[in-house]
């Protein structure tokens, strides 16, 4: 007999029959393995490209700057996204004893999400990017994502309304928090003004944009890669172990503290930047506080396996789940550690960060997904797992590959950071040439790529195993289930306030929304008001039309993925790059381009540092001016012509965003851009470059590079003092 609701007698209650929609779960499972393989293949590709620049192939759409966003988007939204939907749709129906709300909505959700992924796979290699990490997709796709997410939410909440189980199990709380928070994050961070169908500018600029972006970036990890997976963990670990969760009370504390605290921690991505000091400290404190709920969840998951540890040795699904929880514990220990300002000053911009990220995405997400798939596929296809031995080989390939990845990135990150800051007794940099610090760590890039290959191999082994399992499945009739209807007779007497709250999903959702909005408001309100407080310095001027065009090329080629544009107020950075960055410098930057990784040097002060010819050679073949450089060539910039016709529209949009361009500047933008291009080209032609270069994109990019930091560094001392 179906389980009665807690404290409710079963007499006189209406028994209903129903079926589950497992077909949609199957589709999402298939999409998970297909996109997972593609995401990992892209990851391995970009890893090898960093080890050997020639693997960029000299083509625009195969270059690191365009493939890396494709890798991250595929891993997060295609691989993990489809896995989340598969797991949620399977567990949600069973936890609520109800079929999904609407079969058509389920199908729209599935095909709509796959369409988003395909559009991403087409547009990102074409260089159609907003230039904001993990949110690179352009505005029409952003709108499509919003619509599909709404479809998912309606289907999800509709199922809750039709449920036959009074209590909303804790896994569903995590799902609710995911749906609400991802919607808020996506909408707020994707606010942009379109120029054309394929180009837009962020509504925010500079510091404001950075804060919003990393509030999104951090919480995309929290609410796309953590909370839904914790919900899945709270369902699938007890199911696979056939034991209830170790402490349901701990899971409640885990939920509320995670939802409250996680959202506050975004600014730890921007320590030592021009972000307000208090905001950085807030991010750091709450990041450290995250240790508690994260480890609470890990302990809860691992302790659920008490008494069945022998099964962890023999059952591949449980083994992957136990390992994923261990890596969850490790990466949630490392994350807060990295947010401590002194540790962050060492680790930020180095390879330690991708090492940390992959401990989470491979160790936690991939391992948990593998565990869930080993549970789901035999059940959905009505078959025994094809080979436990193959699953064990997969496990060791994945684990060893991940260890290679993490350890090599620790070594690379710490080595490079120590080299950056090494000084002699006279206070001079020991390694003033950035390239010295790159060459030193290239061997670690090879180790990382080999580790990634092992992980990819493990994934292929899993696909073979799951495919063979599904193939040997026996067809079965659609099962019909029965459970008591949820009507007035199922109401519980004497229940506590929180207990009642757990049965009111809509009110519960509103409270979850308030929880995340409280944290967000503290972070975002000051930032959204920052333009009121950040003095616009008269010396900081908007970009010229040609520089703006060059900036768009910078965004298109994903330069921000390897170069930062913010000098931290740390002695070795000031020695290496120059004046620390200031909030006022970025007021016209839609979007900001501070970056998060320095595979190459910071560019905030690169303007006028080198002649035009240096940049010309550098873009053609970086090794001509920097021996040992691992940067790809950008030879297509020498053949692709500048499309001047787009400039008036671009500048008009910038004007709408508050950049002080006059109507006259919009009208004359094309002539001004051509005049500046002619000026730059003249200098290049003097050095023997063909005259036709004046029409090519590289000139616009040079114009942009030569502008970086120039206004601020050339500002008279008295103006700096008066502004302060």
């Amino acid at each position: 007999m179906s389980s009665p609701n807690a404290n409710v007698p079963s007499a006189n209650r209406r028994l209903e029959t129903f079926t589950y929609d497992d077909q949609i779960v199957k589709w999402f499972v298939i999409a998970t393995v297909i996109w997972g393989a593609i995401a990992l293949l892209l990851g391995v590709t970009v890893a090898f490209q960093l080890a050997d620049w020639r693997l960029n192939l000299g083509l625009p759409w195969t270059t690191f700057g365009r493939l890396r966003p494709l890798h991250t988007n595929a891993a997060i939204f295609a691989f993990c996204g489809n896995a989340i939907f598969a797991g949620i749709y399977y567990s949600h129906q069973r936890l609520l004893k109800a079929r999904l709300f609407n079969d058509i909505l389920s199908k729209v959700h599935f095909w709509g999400w796959q369409l988003v992924i395909v559009l991403a796979a087409i547009t990102l290699p074409l260089g159609l990017s907003t230039g904001k990490e993990y949110a690179e997709l352009e505005w029409p796709i952003d709108i499509l994502i919003t619509l599909i997410w709404v479809v998912f939410a309606v289907n999800f909440f509709g199922t809750i309304i039709r449920r036959r189980e009074r209590h909303i199990y804790v896994a569903i709380w995590f799902y609710i928090a995911t749906i609400i928070t991802v919607a808020v994050l996506h909408i707020v961070n994707s606010m942009e003004l379109p120029v054309t169908l394929t180009k837009s500018y962020s509504l925010y600029s500079g510091v404001q944009d950075a804060l919003v972006q990393w509030w999104y970036g951090h919480n995309a990890v929290a609410f796309f890669l953590t909370t839904p997976f914790l919900g899945l963990m709270y369902y699938f670990v007890p199911k696979a172990a056939n034991r209830p969760v170790y402490s349901y009370r701990l899971s409640i504390i885990h939920f509320w503290s995670l939802v409250f605290i996680y959202i506050w921690a975004g600014p730890h991505h921007l320590l030592y930047t021009t972000l307000p000091e208090w905001s950085q400290t807030l991010g750091m404190v709450f990041s450290v506080a995250l240790w508690m709920p994260s480890w609470g969840g890990m302990i809860n998951g691992l302790m659920t396996l008490r008494g069945v540890w022998n099964k962890v040795r023999t059952e591949p699904g449980l083994r992957f789940m136990a390992t994923s929880l261990t890596f969850y514990g490790m990466s949630t220990f490392e994350g807060p550690l990295l947010s401590i300002k002194s540790v962050n000053s060492i680790a930020h911009f180095t390879d330690w960060i991708p090492g940390h990220v992959h401990a989470g995405t491979i160790g936690w997400n991939y391992m948990l997904i593998a565990g869930i798939l080993f549970y789901l596929v035999p059940k959905l296809w009505n078959a025994e797992l094809y080979s436990k031995r193959l699953a064990n080989i997969q496990f060791w390939f994945a684990t060893i590959g991940l260890v290679f990845y993490i350890v090599s990135m620790w070594i690379a990150g710490i080595t490079q950071s120590l080299m950056w800051r090494a000084m002699d007794d006279a206070g001079r940099l020991l390694y003033p040439n950035f390239i010295e610090t790159v060459i030193k760590i290239v061997p670690m890039y090879w180790v990382r790529a080999i580790g990634g290959t092992l992980v990819l191999t493990s994934f292929i082994l899993m696909i073979i195993n799951l495919y063979r399992t599904a193939k040997r499945g026996k067809p079965s009739e659609e099962a019909v289930f029965e459970a008591y209807a949820l009507d007035d007779s199922s109401l519980e007497a004497d229940s506590s306030t929180h207990r009642k709250l757990e049965g009111w999903p809509m009110i519960f959702s509103v409270l979850s929304l308030i929880a995340i909005l409280v944290g967000s408001a503290i972070e975002i309100v000051p930032s959204l008001m920052s333009d009121k407080y950040i003095t616009k310095v008269s010396a900081i001027k908007p970009y010229s039309p040609l520089e703006l065009y060059g900036r768009d090329i910078y965004v298109r080629e994903g330069c921000y993925l390897c170069h930062s544009q913010t000098v931290r107020p740390i002695p070795h950075e000031v020695l290496r790059y120059g004046k620390p960055s200031d909030a006022s410098e970025f007021v016209y930057d839609h979007p900001f381009q501070w970056g998060s990784k320095r595979t190459g040097p910071d560019l905030a002060r690169v303007g006028k540092k080198y002649p035009h010819m240096w940049h010309y050679k550098h873009f053609y073949d970086p090794r001509e001016v920097t021996a040992g450089s691992i940067m790809p060539t950008y030879k297509w910039l020498f053949n692709q012509k500048i499309d001047y016709s787009t400039l008036p529209a671009k500048i008009a949009v910038m004007q709408k965003l508050g950049v002080p361009y006059s109507a006259e500047e919009i009208q004359t933008s094309v002539e001004k851009a051509k005049a500046q291009a002619t000026e730059i080209a003249a200098e290049l032609v003097q050095s023997g470059v063909p005259e036709k270069i004046v029409e090519m994109e590289v000139v616009a990019l040079i114009a942009y590079m030569q502008r970086l930091g120039v206004d601020y560094t050339s500002m008279p001392a008295e103006e700096v003092a008066s502004e302060e």
């Binding site: 079926t19 804790v170 896994a171 307000p276 029965e482």
Partner: protein
Amino acid sequence: MKQDVLKHFDIQWLPLTGLIIFVACFSAYIYWTFKKSNKKMYDQASHIPLEEAHRASSLQKGHNV
């Protein structure tokens, strides 16, 4: 100038209110969750994933919803 936002940010009640809401809610959750009388309910709730709906008999298949 770097600290402009902090120096001039005059809505001090905002972070303070956030902190109060956070502490108050968190204390309330702790209280409700660890209240002795709720133990039985939470123990039952923890079994929900293990208590799947049972398969219906063939006579009841006509009432599928």
